[in-house]
Symmetry: C2
Subunit: 479 residues, 2 copies
């Protein structure tokens, strides 16, 4: 280590204290790879400031340091695209330091009239949900990793989930932000105003920027009143086209109380029932497609609404069979059929995931065309799409044929991924509906969002981070 670099680390240690700076390789190691160990890269240190002020001071020291140091913000390290992991050694332009705000865990008391919750970046999503519930309200954002995902990362990646249909993704819930630029400048965008047309939407720009424009240090999140009643139904449908007809019916007859509308392909349900003991299939006959629908509201007539829409769907041959959850336990059991899909697919062998979305009307065409394309490439592949069909966001997952060598299946996977992405591209869709670009998908940006769009993104990146020192190689392709 150079004398100058040792001097910088000693200054940072003085500033951040023993808990605030990790430099030993054992201590750093967990931060240098993602939770699935798919991405890994070396780091000079991990900075763990206890406050926004400490972060600003540390960044100012680093900016003044004569040697270039790049910085990688990391939240709960639950991402799927390597957006919070340092670049591999060969791809780093400069030594990288990781910045974790996990010690910043304060939640301010909820003001019910304001209807917002102010949390520091290191608060887990689950802790924020709990704080909202303690005030009799709801933070309507839920994802599988909510126990460890942190608010900073939730905002930086514009997290979605199954409630986005009704309440939007993180973007729609962010009422205020505090952020810090790479040079240590603090940006106070916390003001809790529902209407404020004073200049450019900087907050919106930071949401979903995956830590490439600024560090998110605090967020004010919009809450909703708790809803006292919910109804859950599980329906069998003849095909994917019927799924969209059912969605239309619920939209027009119960659109104001539609809380979730989730699709599960017949093949996916077969895999789930074969590999998970705890699941009970609630209908008499298997079908090509299933929908789990939830209504939530405060009206006593919610059950009647659900029943009348389902009756119309049965009469119109949109639905062939349906069951209602008539107790909290039954509702949870129905939801489990949807929630356990990922776990079932993991138990079924090697699988390949695609985080795609298309316009909602194109969902049946996506499913039909992409399924046919995959089966043509690899007969026997189990095509198991499921997910947030009301958002056009399908988890288009492929499970290996029974008995096939997993490694051989994964080798075949690239061609099927290309085939699926070709269909998505033709339908005007996205290759990253929920999970972001990270370092995994930067090379897709040119062909999917290239030209004027990517050129503007590069200029915006330079406006926030002129030297490109903040999370380089993420979102925006390196030159």
């Amino acid at each position: 280590m150079t004398e100058s670099r040792a001097h910088l680390l000693s200054r940072l240690a003085d500033l951040l204290g023993p808990k605030g700076l990790l430099t030993e390789s054992d201590a750093i190691a967990p931060y240098t790879r993602d939770w699935r160990s798919l991405f890994e890269g070396p780091a000079l240190a991990v900075l763990r400031p206890a406050s926004t002020e400490e972060l600003c001071a540390a960044l100012r020291h680093i900016a003044r340091h004569p040697e270039r140091i790049d910085l990688v913000p990391q939240g709960g390290n639950t991402g799927l695209c390597g957006g919070a992991t340092p670049l591999p050694a060969g791809r780093q332009s400069a030594p990288e330091m990781i910045v974790s705000l996990e010690r910043m865990r304060a939640v301010a008391p909820v003001d019910r009239t304001d209807g917002t919750l102010l949390a520091e970046a290191g608060v887990t999503l689950a802790a924020a949900q709990d704080a909202a519930a303690a005030a009799g309200m709801v933070l309507p954002l839920s994802i599988a990793s909510e126990g460890s995902a942190q608010i900073g990362g939730i905002v930086a990646t514009n997290a979605g989930g199954s409630k986005a249909l009704r309440y939007g993704s993180a973007r729609e819930l962010v009422a205020g932000l505090e952020a810090v630029l790479v040079d240590g400048t603090r940006l106070d965008l916390l003001r809790s105003l529902r209407k404020d047309n004073t200049g450019y939407a900087l907050r919106q720009l930071l949401v979903g920027s995956e830590g490439t424009l600024a560090f998110i240090t605090r967020a004010r999140l919009r809450l909703r009143p708790a809803l006292s009643r919910r109804e859950v139904a599980f329906c069998a449908l003849p095909d994917a086209a019927a799924v969209i007809r059912l969605f239309d019916l619920f939209q027009s007859r119960a659109g104001d109380v539609l809380e979730a509308f989730e699709f599960i392909a017949g093949a996916a349900m077969e895999v789930a029932l074969a590999h998970l003991d705890g699941l009970t299939f609630p209908l008499a006959e298997p079908a090509d497609a299933y929908v789990l629908v939830e209504l939530a509201g405060q009206e006593t007539t919610l059950r009647e609404t659900m029943e009348s829409v389902l009756e119309a769907a049965l009469e119109g041959d949109i639905v062939t069979d349906a069951v209602l959850g008539d107790s909290e336990a039954r509702k949870a059991a129905l939801w489990k059929l949807r929630e356990e899909q990922s776990e079932a697919q993991r138990l079924a062998g090697a699988s390949i995931k695609h985080d795609i979305s298309v316009p909602v009307p194109s969902v049946p065409e996506l499913i039909d065309r992409a399924t046919a394309a995959c089966r043509a490439l690899l007969p026997g592949v189990r095509v198991c799409p499921f997910g947030h069909v009301g958002d056009g966001n399908i988890h288009f997952n492929l499970v290996q044929p029974e008995g096939m060598d997993p490694a051989a299946f994964l080798r075949e996977g690239e061609a099927m991924t290309d085939a699926i992405h070709d269909v998505v591209h033709a339908l005007g869709g996205s290759f990253s509906a929920e999970h972001g670009v990270g370092q995994l998908k930067t090379e897709m940006m040119e062909s999917w969002r290239g030209g004027a769009e990517l050129a503007l993104m590069r200029r915006i990146k330079a406006a926030f981070d002129p030297d490109g020192r903040l999370n380089p190689g993420k979102v925006i392709p390196l030159d």
Copy 2:
């Protein structure tokens, strides 16, 4: 006129046709001033392209022209801050041309499954609402000028209105955009995806940028299913603090069906009843504060919900009296008490308006402190606040004392405006809740949004418009 400039105009005339280019002073005149004739500035020409392609081609010609030409986008010319009017002659850095997209009026057929409407920039908000209604859906955005305001301007100014409480402002309704940069580059951000985490939120940045970053040429707007039932109540309350307590009660008991929550000060109602013949006061006694509340939904129990919340409010002394609209005509009559406030104030003499917002919990403090400050400065001034209290967005209007000379009142106005803004600033509010910055309020940007925030806005402006030729002197202060 220089030979070169005449040559440019002749090229533009060839390109845009006789309807597409106005150069005669009589033809240009209506575009060179705002509808209230408060702002006026000269223009070399008005460009009225009939398509995005024509606009792109015209902008490319202008960019190649050796002399600098600045460009001012103009929608329905209904703005209140001069954002769509050329700068006054003395403040222009270069000759300005106005660009109106009023000939671009196509609306694509509504896809109910997608739940969006695709409209060209020149479509009026009212025409877009009609197109949604014809498809059995609702475009949940409503403002007083909707008959002439155009979609391009609605998006560019992030228009709000009374439905923003439930559905958000224009920002929340924009599902896709087409825009054109000042050099003629087309930006296609139209894709209709509810989930798409691929890079920076360019669409969000364009919403509310007041024509300073790009021309909005087309917008895809999110629709809602039509709601079959609505209930309207008009309530008397003892004071502004009770208004917030009533808001809390409705939020917690009927938050999922709360369509509007509008406040009218007692003094404002007095002015309205004194100056408008068509109004009927529906309660027995006058009060210090009134609230108009609307619930909307598809449930048959909506009336019971409204009644039970009002009963609780009466029992808790939050509300002293209330009346329900028991027919469509009665509901309209109750809404008229709110909607005619501006007209009544106009009839009452000179008035001064303030487009402010504060966090919702601070509304009573705003009203009490700002009212006292104004009365201390000018005894007899009629302080008439009303508006979207559920959004924290109060139209804090002052009406001249009876019998005072209007010009003298307006001269006193500046001190009262400063006093109101001081209270708003202290409460962490905004000086431009709905109407934007335009050219009217650029000099407030430094003190309210200065430092790192305004510096970033300047760099973003340069990223889109490096030469500063697009709507100069609007939003971002000139150097």
